[in-house]
């Protein structure tokens, strides 16, 4: 398990730097507008999309390599799930710290407000990206393209659904409003993790 975690981490560790770099760019881009809520939501969206792509590539590139080096499927997919979960928690924290450093405590407070929505969506992106990787590895060419497009449409749609809710949340809408989408995101993320486990079970290198 440790060997697998190190292998996945070796592949994904520099992407948070990319996200932070993009965030800094966004921060400067939106600095003139002074619209902190836009910055916060835009940063979270960007981090979610990059997460999906990172784990799509991690499952396609690293998973077969771990098996080739003699890992069991169980240990490799377990490690991928651990890294996905760690990323799901760590990335928002890193972004929160960056926002605090660059835009002050008011921005951090706004960011903390969206965390209950953002973290499940981040999990969804990680598990969905990983699952898509397995779909790409196992399905026929046409289906690969279809699943690829479907996934991004879903992810994009999901985020579009969350955006107004996030904005409402930022403007003081009661917390109960966000419970349903959060449950949906958690369920979809769980389905993603389960799908990865099932797909990994009989994968051939």
């Amino acid at each position: 398990m440790a060997a697998n975690c190190k292998s996945y981490w070796q592949y994904v560790w520099y992407y948070p730097i990319l996200i932070v770099g993009l965030f800094v760019f966004y921060s400067f881009l939106y600095s003139a507008l002074e619209e902190l809520d836009v910055l916060v939501v835009a940063s979270a969206s960007m981090a979610v999309f990059i997460t999906a792509i990172v784990f799509l590539y991690a499952s396609v590139q690293v998973f077969p390599m771990t098996l080739q080096f003699g890992s069991t499927r169980k240990a490799s997919i377990g490690a991928l799930s651990v890294v996905e979960l760690l990323w799901g928690v760590a990335m928002p924290l890193v972004l929160a710290a960056c926002i605090g450093l660059l835009r002050g405590s008011a921005a951090t407070a706004l960011f903390i407000q969206i965390l209950p929505v953002y973290i499940p969506v981040q999990f969804l992106a990680a598990s969905g990206g990983g699952l898509l990787g397995f779909a790409v590895m196992r399905l026929r060419k046409v289906m690969r393209v279809v699943s690829f497009v479907l996934f991004f449409v879903l992810l994009f749609g999901c985020f579009m659904l969350f955006m107004p809710m996030l904005t409402r949340k930022l403007s003081g809408v009661p917390a109960e409003v966000s419970v349903l989408p959060v449950i949906i995101a958690v369920l979809l993320a769980a389905a993603g993790f389960l799908g990865e486990w099932l797909a990994a079970r009989k994968y051939s290198v």
Binding site: A3, L56, F69
Partner: protein, 295 residues
């Protein structure tokens, strides 16, 4: 180093409706170099994938030291299957760098020899910062060989390790392989199409044909069972009487036969009939056996 055997019993593999491996059973003994020989599509890579638990078998079992190999971390840590690294993955280029691959390998193989790996990197002249997608076919083969040798895994499989190498590099590989074999008790299973130059390295050969194991025998014993008889047609026919003929070549009045069941009695008859009796190279024998099966 321990001395466990890897045993496969009645391995079958089906892709859709097509069965590609038909009930293969074999035992790989410790400290032996096996040559896995077969035509394209014979099922060599699939068989190696199943023996190393990288491909699930449709039925049958594979055990190492008595323990099942499938999803068994302890058994898998002692088995290395080094196959050519593809320059592309499904989503684009393979962007792994050699140093990343080597680092990953060190996480998995408990006997990984970092110094030896470094020595091989220098011997092959590899730039560890290079990405896999930017390596030539020969260099990718070198990385494959490097991983296999430096893993120091008790059982090591190499799938077409010399396919992309020039003749000098191939010679270097066989030298390194024999050095490693002498200093350790490792078992190597090597699949290759370039049979002739590897024949002297293989202690045992496994002939795979259309998904069936045609032969699994000690190389010298196998070759001693066959002989080329050449001379005048009537003399050769008389000397070869009662022996199975695998191949026949006619040149004017003289003829060359490749016959089976060669033994001392055959040699004596050859001398009596003034017929030349020569050994059959492994590659030729494989061609004849595979051709005979096809016919």
């Amino acid at each position: 180093m321990n001395a466990k055997t890897l045993t496969a019993v009645d391995i079958r593999k089906t892709y859709g409706q097509k069965e590609v491996l038909h009930g293969i059973s074999l035992t790989l003994l410790p400290h032996t170099i096996y040559g896995l020989i077969g035509r394209n599509g014979a099922g060599k890579t699939t068989l190696m994938g199943i023996l190393t638990a990288q491909t699930p078998a449709t039925s049958g079992s594979v055990t190492y030291g008595g323990e099942p190999v499938w999803e068994n971390a302890r058994a898998l840590s002692e088995i290395c299957f080094s196959r050519e690294l593809s320059p592309t993955v499904l989503m684009g280029r393979n962007t792994f760098r050699i140093k990343q691959i080597l680092r990953m390998a060190s996480y998995y193989y408990p006997n990984w020899d970092k110094d030896y790996a470094q020595k091989l990197v220098e011997a092959f002249g590899l730039d560890v910062k290079k990405q896999i997608c930017k390596l030539s076919s020969g260099m990718r083969s070198m990385v494959t060989i490097l991983l296999a040798l430096a893993s120091r895994a008790p059982v090591t499989f190499l799938d077409e390790p010399v396919a992309g190498l020039d003749v000098v590099a191939r010679d270097q590989f066989y030298r390194l392989l024999l050095e490693e074999y002498e200093r350790s008790e490792r078992t190597f299973v090597i699949s290759t199409h370039i049979i002739e130059e590897a024949a002297s390295v293989f202690e045992k050969v496994l002939f795979l044909d259309h998904g069936s194991l045609l032969l699994a025998e000690d190389t010298d014993t196998l070759l001693s069972h066959y002989a080329y008889l050449s001379g005048r047609e009537e003399d050769v026919r008389a000397a070869a009487e009662g022996r199975p003929v695998l191949h026949r070549e006619q040149m004017g009045r003289s003829v060359t036969l490749c016959v089976g069941e060669a033994d001392e009695a055959l040699s004596q008859r050859c001398r009596a009939f003034d017929v030349a009796c020569d050994p059959v190279p492994l590659q030729k024998l494989f061609v004849y056996l595979a051709g005979q099966k096809e016919a």
